[in-house]
């Protein structure tokens, strides 16, 4: 589904990603962990081309993306993204947030887009909030709307950039619940998170990054119970 070869990225003189190789299979749920500054968010953002890599190749759906010729907007339609700070459009209602891109990017009929949006809202448990503005929702509700908004484009992969980090602790569960449901349905997902319990339960593979390198990757049970790398051990001691 996604193949990354020798990906590198620098901000000025600071190299945040160093020759990353990573393959993500269809329906796989991959969790990226690592301390802040390890490059995990940058890696995720490169997959959506919100950051342009300085070197290497990204192949999505057997199409090489790093060339200038590829239409990034088309690629982004296939790759949904959920942000730490939700980034809902404040001037639009929940429903309008969700139907915006299907109508204006995918050229779907409005009635069709609304029907689909209502189904998605049902799925994330917010059917009754369709006509609310983002400001009237709790953080957890906002994030569930953001997930529905991304799903409305019918992406093949979903990227989650610390989706619960900005939430009050009691609201984390409802968002993770929606994500678990998605994983169960077979969505391909790449998730940056600090929720180790969630990673253990849902991930097919956990990847540990440090200083821009992938230093360890394994099945969550294996990685959490028996970390090989010294830095992984230290990191897990700090967060668990």
């Amino acid at each position: 589904m996604i193949e990354i070869r020798q990906l590198s990225k620098s901000f000025g003189s600071l190299q945040v990603l160093k020759n990353i190789d990573l393959t993500i299979k269809q329906q796989e749920v991959v969790v990226l962990i690592g301390s802040s500054g390890s490059g995990k968010s940058t890696l995720l953002r490169c997959l959506n081309f919100l950051e342009t890599a300085n070197g290497g190749e990204i192949i999505i759906d057997s199409e090489l993306i790093n060339s200038d010729k590829t239409n990034l907007n088309k690629v982004r339609e296939k790759v949904g993204m959920v942000f730490q700070h939700f980034n809902l459009f404040p001037h639009k209602t929940v429903l309008e947030n969700i139907i915006e891109a299907p109508i204006y990017v995918k050229r779907e009929k409005k009635e069709h887009a609304i029907l689909k949006a209502q189904k998605l809202l049902q799925k994330v448990g917010l059917r009754d909030k369709a006509n609310f503005y983002p400001e009237q929702l709790s953080g957890g509700q906002k994030q569930r709307v953001a997930i529905a908004r991304a799903l409305a484009m019918e992406p093949q992969v979903m990227l989650f950039d610390e989706p619960t980090s900005a939430l009050d602790p009691e609201l984390v569960g409802e968002v993770l619940q929606v994500m678990k449901e998605l994983a169960r349905e077979g969505m391909t997902m790449v998730i940056v998170t600090h929720e180790m319990g969630f990673a253990k339960e849902v991930a097919d593979r956990v990847i540990m990054l440090a200083d821009g390198y992938i230093i360890e990757e394994n099945h969550p049970n294996e990685l959490f119970s028996n970390p090989q790398h010294e830095r992984t051990q230290r990191f897990l001691n700090q967060v668990l």
């Binding site: 790759v79 980034n87 891109a101 503005y133």
Partner: protein, 227 residues
């Protein structure tokens, strides 16, 4: 009490002339602002653009216009280029005022657009929206509401700055005051009266801007409707 009666006299004698002159002030300001808004939109998009050449052009324009006095720009357009193009005093005045205000409006619009959280553009782009569509559908609708208070402020400044066109013999409010004062030799009373006229126009305008601002307030969402 003579001051007071003098003021009443001036108003009763020249009130109509001042009203006509007010209309001149308002119309030259309105036309220049229309022009300034167009310039402002063009140059703000130049500044926001990722094209370096367009950035430079906008910087040059804004730099020159903000770096030189309005009166010089007015004189330049009326007398300075008279050998090549002859403009009527009204046209030259409106043009100079528009070019001048346009530079400030460009900066106001740019500021409003750039004040919108980066995440908004990222979210729109991540949904596959091309930049132009994201700007049109997501960024501008949020930005223009933020631009209204500083724009209102700029409009008021322009209205008052339009008094400088008196120097190229546009018969605006200020020019009329100069004439009246030249006849009656009562500078205190005459400038008091003309000041009053400007003040009233500005107050009316402020009232309208406040209404518009309230109507467009994004921070207060509309009443939520039942699903």
């Amino acid at each position: 009490m003579t001051l007071f009666t003098n003021i009443i006299d001036i108003i009763s004698e020249h009130g109509i002339a001042f009203l006509k002159a007010s209309w001149m002030t308002i119309s030259i300001t309105a036309i220049s602002l229309l022009f300034a808004m167009i310039i402002g939109f063009i140059f703000s998009s130049f500044k926001i653009s990722s094209n370096k050449i367009l950035n430079r052009i906008a910087d040059l324009y804004i730099g020159i216009i903000r770096g030189t006095p309005l009166i010089v720009q007015i004189m330049f357009l009326y007398y300075g280029i008279a050998n090549f193009v002859t403009l009527s005093s009204f046209t030259a005045g409106a043009l100079a005022l528009g070019i001048h205000t346009g530079a400030y409006i460009a900066e106001i619009i740019r500021g409003a657009v750039q004040s919108i959280d980066r995440g908004q553009l990222e979210a729109a782009r991540s949904l596959g929206m091309p930049k132009s569509l994201a700007m049109r559908r997501i960024i501008f609708p949020q930005a223009y509401k933020r631009a209204i208070p500083p724009l209102g402020n700029q409009f008021i400044i322009s209205l008052k700055d339009s008094s400088l066109v008196a120097y190229i013999s546009v018969t605006d409010l200020y020019n009329t005051a100069l004439t009246v004062q030249g006849e009656n030799f009562m500078p205190f009373e005459t400038y008091f009266v003309v000041g009053l006229y400007y003040l009233i126009i500005v107050l009316i305008f402020t009232f309208i801007t406040n209404k518009v601002e309230k109507k467009l307030d994004v921070s207060k969402p509309k009443e939520a409707l039942p699903a």
